[in-house]
């Protein structure tokens, strides 16, 4: 059995989107060509610290869209951090070249080991529910929390035989922050057998990792 194929199996839970958010703001008021720090705070209506991901755009239709942790090719905006608490979604970054509208689309997952109850009314229930056997879905293969000490590494053995998709967040449960490679806290490397997480902060943090059965 290849878990990368379409499958409904309790060993590989389908990833569940428990929250969807759309926000807008302005990158900054300055017309200076220098970088200007800008931060956004939005209400987390789900009431649970979610494992978030998302995109940003400079138009409301998202015709041109960038990953949440990104900078656009013109460097109008560069994301420094994004995290959620039970009540708030925080996004901070740098704006360049003056004020311009910016739009965010955020989706959130819930840690599999959480004891928090997510209200179904706050979920993505407005979307039609479809499972199509001709298509594939994100399936959680391994996930968990891990404290990684200063400059230490932690290896997650998956033995899938191919390089799987994965995500990592920083936090201890009351908040979760999106982790990016080379951002100063964590580096990671993955091959067909294992994912290696290495702390580069010099302090050590708690992380939540999720390795999917889907090929990267």
């Amino acid at each position: 059995m290849n878990p990368d194929n379409f499958i409904l199996n309790s060993d590989y839970p389908l990833e569940k989107i428990a929250g969807l958010f759309e926000f807008s703001g302005t990158t900054g008021a300055s017309t200076s060509t220098m970088a200007e720090g800008v931060s956004f705070q939005f209400t987390n209506t789900v009431g649970v610290p979610l494992l978030i991901d998302g995109q940003f755009s400079f138009t409301p239709d998202f015709t041109v869209a960038y990953p949440l942790m990104s900078e656009d090719e013109n460097r109008y905006f560069s994301t420094d951090s994004a995290y959620t608490t039970r009540t708030t979604i925080y996004i901070s970054g740098s704006g360049y070249g003056g004020a311009r509208p910016i739009y965010f689309r955020i989706w959130g997952f819930v840690p599999e080991d959480t004891a928090i109850v997510v209200p179904s009314t706050a979920s993505a229930s407005q979307d039609n529910f479809v499972l199509d056997t001709r298509k594939n879905y994100l399936k959680v293969f391994k996930d968990g929390r891990q404290k990684i000490g200063a400059d230490e590494s932690f290896t997650i053995q998956h033995n899938l035989g191919y390089i799987p998709y994965f995500k990592v967040w920083l936090g201890s449960g009351s908040s979760w922050q999106v982790v990016t490679y080379g951002s100063g806290t964590l580096n990671y490397a993955i091959d067909s057998q294992k994912l290696v997480l290495t702390d580069t902060s010099g302090y050590g943090f708690n992380y939540y990792y999720r390795v999917y059965a889907n090929e990267a």
Partner: protein, 126 residues
């Protein structure tokens, strides 16, 4: 409802994957200040969301789904480059690499980056 248990529940969206494309981008040996190199590909899933993995540079086994900086100290460049995948329009995906902060880059060899991009259904109104 506790979504951490395995279940089929229409309260929580499960997004289908719609296909994938591969992008290959060669960064020249002498990549000048604030230069941008990008390559694009068509995909037949308008406004789909995407996840991606980039290989190349100093970490050929690195799989990422977020923009990163790839150190290419091994090739003599010795500085960091922002690399990302973004949606250029509704049916075009791009892999781009740019220099930063006006620094002039000189190097001794070209480097090839490869991105595998998977598309999946957007739960947002388009």
């Amino acid at each position: 409802m506790k979504p951490s248990n395995y279940e089929i529940n229409s309260d929580y969206a499960h997004r289908a994957e719609l296909g994938s494309v591969t992008l290959t981008l060669t960064i020249p040996a002498n990549f000048t200040a604030d230069g941008v190199r990008e390559t694009t590909a068509y995909y037949n899933a308008p406004n789909a969301l995407f996840r991606f993995r980039i290989e190349g540079g100093a970490d050929p086994t690195m799989a990422i789904d977020v923009p990163t900086t790839i150190s290419r100290t091994y090739s003599g460049f010795g500085i960091l480059y922002p690399v990302t995948v973004y949606r250029k329009n509704v049916t075009t995906i791009a892999l781009s690499c740019r220099t930063t902060d006006g620094r002039t880059v000189t190097g001794t060899s070209a480097t090839t980056l490869r991105a595998t991009v998977h598309f999946f259904e957007s739960p947002f109104e388009s």
